[in-house]
Symmetry: C2
Subunit: 170 residues, 2 copies
């Protein structure tokens, strides 16, 4: 029985790694595009640094359980549908949709780690529980920041849109 738990658990840990790779590339695209929303840009850049550290943390969990790294390719494929679907929204060059999509992606991460923490507990991976709780806290902080600033971003966008010759979208 525990072997079966273990397999699902490891699959999900690999999915989490793929999800953070996806997050990194999306956040980079978004930060690179923003011009007139410096607070949002700065918070995204901070989260890019966190996202890279999270990849190392997840890799450490994988290393403890699994010596073959080649399977990672499959996990990347599996996550593609989910991560890219949400990630595709981030490609929108309109800042309000971008901020909403960022918040949605963070919540996908929060839910994934919540499920992963329950799985880590079931297989008895205490270090995994610690790692995924740390990462989830960072995702929650990023989601809360976006949620709190979304009304401001919306207002700024509407005000800029109404001014002739002013770029509002990015």
């Amino acid at each position: 029985m525990s072997t079966n738990y273990q397999e699902h658990y490891l699959d999900w840990v690999r999915d989490a790694f793929a999800m953070e790779k996806q997050a990194e590339s999306m956040l980079e695209k978004m930060a690179g595009r923003l011009e007139h929303y410096p607070d949002l840009k700065a918070r995204i850049e901070q989260h890019i640094v966190e996202t890279r550290q999270q990849q190392d943390l997840i890799q450490s969990v994988i290393d403890r359980h699994d010596t073959s790294r080649s399977v990672l390719k499959d996990a990347m494929g599996k996550m593609a549908a989910m991560g890219q679907a949400v990630g595709g929204m981030l490609a929108e060059d309109e800042v309000v949709k971008g901020a909403i999509s960022g918040y949605v992606f963070e919540n996908m991460e929060i839910a994934s780690y919540t499920s992963l923490i329950a799985a880590a507990e079931l297989v008895g991976d205490t270090e995994g529980v610690r790692v995924f709780t740390t990462i989830r806290d960072q995702e929650i902080a990023m989601a809360e920041w976006l949620y709190t600033h979304l009304p401001d971003v919306t207002e700024q966008f509407l005000v800029r849109s109404a001014e002739p010759g002013v770029e509002a979208k990015k």
Copy 2:
């Protein structure tokens, strides 16, 4: 200036209507498929009823601002990329991914209404602020339910998966 605000605002209200149509069809699919997770199924069915009421509420906002209903078709098209991207994840027949996707979709709704409330305030639509705050509260309650039950759903899935001859996925 206020005309410009008004245009964006109405576009977003129509987007919200399209989003709730999408939500209804996704939730119906998910509830119809679930067999071994009665609590999750019951909560989704409750939210389907709420979702239909939300569509009426949103329609009332549209009716107050806009007499032409034909434009709704465009809004449906515009929401397709975002809503169907997240909605496609709900089509997964694995209950854990389904619950995560449901949570993600609820959070897309929460973020959309947060932005919409800020826009309603800017255009001075007090009744709109009231309507969208009511709807957002229902989305928050649904998201919180899914978040709280996600560890249980994950555990049940893993335990069922480990038992020979037991269906775990739905």
